[in-house]
């Protein structure tokens, strides 16, 4: 067999941790994945850390990448559950710069409003 070197997986940076200090308060909430974008679900189908989740009066943020799909193609996302259960942190300090680097975009006005709103117990740093 002729000698060859075949790249198998590309290297890259891991997601940054989105909270500063301990995360001691987490809760499981439903999330509608069909409304998520490719900025929030990566090409391997992981829901990224730093996704803002609002479920009723609960405002939380994902703290770890969790696999929710096989990929992030629009058709795949459209077929995902609307009530997927996921763990989010509800009390803590959120590193805005890290969240935006993970998501590849700035937080929207709505997301900022949720994180800084009256029902949120998260502190947005940055």
């Amino acid at each position: 067999m002729p000698i060859r070197i075949t790249p198998t997986t590309p290297g890259g940076a891991d997601y940054g941790h989105v909270t500063l200090g301990p995360v001691d308060h987490t809760v499981q909430v439903p999330i509608n994945l069909t409304t998520r974008t490719t900025g929030e679900i990566d090409r391997f189908g992981y829901l990224k850390p730093g996704v803002v989740v609002v479920a009723g009066t609960i405002v939380g943020i994902t703290v770890e990448a969790i696999k929710v799909a096989n990929d992030n193609a629009p058709a795949t996302i459209a077929a995902l559950p609307t009530d997927f259960q996921i763990g989010v942190a509800t009390i803590g300090q959120v590193l805005r710069h890290v969240v935006e680097d993970n998501l590849g975009r700035a937080l929207t006005g709505g997301e900022v409003a949720s994180l800084t709103g009256a029902t949120s117990r998260l502190v947005l740093l940055g």
Binding site: L20, P22, V63, H97, N102, L125
Partner: protein, 349 residues
């Protein structure tokens, strides 16, 4: 028993063991860092340092007539400064899902745990230690080249620049860039070095970027047969012209510096462009002061002095009911240049 009880029970992953490991790592990241050469470590007792500048006062007495008194030599007091340092710290976290994936292959098998987990977590701690050392490198270079320290808030990304307050005369700027056709960079360099030797009392070389050296090389006297001098020949020519052994240190080393409070980095040169610094006799320009890390005192006692409280200290903690593991490495280190040994010019190239 929480998730991280395995880690807590494993003595090779204790704070003490990780700290001992961190302190055995070489300071210079496989010779890529040079701060320990120009700013060797100096143990200090506090994060508040008092420095005293030396006085360059060389009075000359006068003659007097018989039965009279001669020249009074007045007392001169040196300037003092108080330097307050803040720690260098880097950290990483492991959340529950990642730990699950780490532990699945070895669940219940302590031998496998030692082989797999022990290889991974200490390796990640090593990356924290070298990140701290690279901060020392950047700070030492900035302190020398610019007389300032730039501190970035690791969360918000805002920066603060603090000046050492060195004599402005020691930081010069070329009136015309040395790359200008009307300026001979080689002659300018020789003149600057000669002034510098008078100012700092001797030199063994100069530190600069490659583009700066190339400008000097381009204007150096031609060699035999009208050929441009090689780098080695330029160095020898400068040594001959100055009458001392002189060496060019070309520093193109680059590190990945965070751009704000996020995780994006940019590869930046350690040594700033266009700056040339004279390397004094003895090479060292100052010291890297290392103060004790208070949290490490207990570790030092428990290890019977095996841990240097002024070295890198590693701490780990579990939270969220044992589902989250954070590891951090702290150094109380700060570059303290000797203002009397600084001679820097911005050559404009």
């Amino acid at each position: 028993m929480d998730y991280f009880s395995w880690l807590g029970a494993e003595e090779d992953l204790s704070n003490e063991a990780l700290t001992v490991r961190a302190q055995t790592l070489p300071p210079n990241d496989r010779d890529r860092l040079t701060f320990d050469l120009y700013f060797p470590f100096l143990p200090v007792d506090s994060t508040t340092l008092s420095s005293i500048t030396t006085i360059d006062f060389r009075p000359v007495a006068d003659r007097r007539e018989w039965n009279t008194r001669g020249r009074q030599i007045p007392k001169r007091t040196p300037g003092t400064a108080s330097l307050e340092m803040i720690p260098i710290e880097s950290w990483f976290k492991i959340e529950e899902y990642e730990l699950q994936k780490l532990m699945e292959p070895i669940m219940g098998d302590q031998a496998l745990f030692r082989r797999l987990i022990l290889a991974r977590i200490p390796d990640r701690v090593d990356s924290l230690v070298f990140a701290n050392r690279r901060r020392m490198e950047i700070d030492a270079s900035n302190a020398w080249a610019n007389g300032t320290i730039v501190v970035m808030n690791p969360t918000l990304g805002t920066t603060q620049t603090v000046s050492y307050g060195f004599d402005a005369g020691r930081y010069q700027t070329a009136g015309t860039a040395w790359s200008d056709g009307g300026v001979n960079a080689y002659d300018e360099f020789i003149a600057w070095v000669e002034d510098g030797i008078d100012a700092i009392g001797g030199a063994v070389g100069a530190r600069m970027r490659r583009a700066t050296f190339q400008a000097i090389q381009a204007d150096a006297p031609m060699g035999a047969l009208g050929l441009r001098l090689t780098r080695e020949e330029v160095q020898r020519r400068v040594s001959d012209d100055l009458g001392i052994d002189f060496q060019f240190v070309i520093d193109e080393n680059r590190l990945d510096v965070f751009t704000d409070g996020g995780i994006v980095t940019t590869r930046a040169n350690v040594w700033p462009a266009e700056k040339i610094a004279l390397i004094p006799q003895g090479v060292a320009v100052g010291n890297t002061a290392r103060a004790p890390v208070a949290r490490a005192y207990q570790m030092a006692q428990q290890t019977g002095g095996e841990i240097d409280v002024r070295g890198t200290a590693v701490f780990r903690e579990a939270s969220n009911g044992g589902r989250e593991f954070t590891c951090e490495a702290q150094d109380n280190a700060f570059p303290v240049p000797n203002g009397e040994l600084i001679w820097v010019i911005d050559a404009g190239v």
